[in-house]
Symmetry: C2
Subunit: 220 residues, 2 copies
């Protein structure tokens, strides 16, 4: 028995997409962020860190997107994980993207997102002042890093329908979230990345997940 | 033939520790950060993203800490990865920490670190101004998140010598870097976390890695 704890505007959407793509039976519990933007306290009753996604599988409560994706690959869809013996390069690529998504690609995008939130919550007269640190960090680190990451992903996707192989794999379920964030922010500059996000958004399983959650999603 | 590209003050140190712990033969190439803090351009000749650690294994050039750790576990030390068949809970725990290290624990610590760098590079009269955004983000998100993460890790380590099992595993090689960062910043508040970092720093393999790199490390 699978229960997905889905938090509005969060990485939980990637797990919903995966569950729909695998056509698994599951219950979805939708939680909404507090006005502060933080996750609601009720998630802390399930897991110390109180974040989402969380997946309950029987007695197990699993946190951390990639851990959930790997658990579902192992227990429900081993065929989606490239076999290191017969396809070593695909297996390495699959694992690389599984880690790259959250360890490298997402953090600077999230930092930009948080800077935007600060900006939104700042009276307009003060924005030149609150823009100083984001602008310093942007010039010193963020902008170059993000441009490099996006170009890297864009070039990988230029001749591929999915990250690895010819069907969605764990790499896609992990990469979709930062790809959506990058496409929303820089899409025009990276057409293969933007096309990829549009292809995923057009998939029936992705649409079913959106419909089932029934709450707005910032990357719709 | 293994070659580790070691960048000063970086996550590369965890891979050096792992290679020493496994007593593998390898070449270490030490690269120094530019005055801006960025990695030197020469790393871009090896990998598009130009970051470290990078591990060359024969013709392969591997990037992304966790990908390198998993590659070494697979090819050089499968006994360090808990067996899902005979120890399913340990295997899940191992994989959880492998992802948690960079996906959850490191990003807010890195954000704090970048804010510190901005502060250092700001003339002191301007610091109240450049402190506004870090302080707003700290109150809204960073401080609570970091306190939760550190308490979570601290509580896990309270009755354990290592993250999983009774010898260093992939989970330790991944977790040491953000644990060092958290201990340097908040150590006094989290004694199990601090003791863990001290235990690792006292290991002969860790010391050999530090000596071999021969450059200062911010978490010494």
């Amino acid at each position: 028995m699978l229960t997905l704890h889905y938090l509005s505007d969060s990485r939980a959407h990637r797990i919903a997409w995966m569950l729909e793509e695998l056509e698994l039976e599951y219950t979805m519990k939708v939680h909404r962020r507090r006005p502060s933007g933080l996750a609601p306290r009720e998630l802390e009753r399930l897991h110390f860190l109180g974040k989402a996604p969380l997946l309950e599988d029987g007695d197990l409560v699993l946190a951390e997107s990639a851990h959930i994706v790997e658990h579902l690959l192992d227990t429900r869809a081993p065929q989606l994980r490239p076999d290191p013996a017969s396809a070593p390069e695909q297996a390495r690529s699959h694992r690389y993207w599984l880690h790259f998504a959250e360890a490298s690609f997402a953090p600077p995008l999230i930092m930009k997102h948080l800077f935007d939130k600060v900006r939104e919550r700042t009276p307009s007269l003060l924005r030149p002042v609150t823009g100083i640190v984001p602008s310093m960090l942007g010039k010193a680190y963020l902008d170059d890093t993000l441009a490099k990451h996006a170009a890297f992903v864009d070039s990988h996707l230029r001749d591929r329908e999915f990250f690895v192989g010819d069907a969605p794999s764990g790499a896609d379920f992990m990469m979709i979230f930062p790809c959506e964030a990058a496409a929303a922010r820089y899409g025009g500059r990276y057409s293969a990345l933007l096309d990829y996000v549009r292809r995923v958004h057009a998939r029936p399983a992705y649409k079913r997940a959106r419909k089932r959650a029934g709450v707005p999603y910032m990357y719709d």
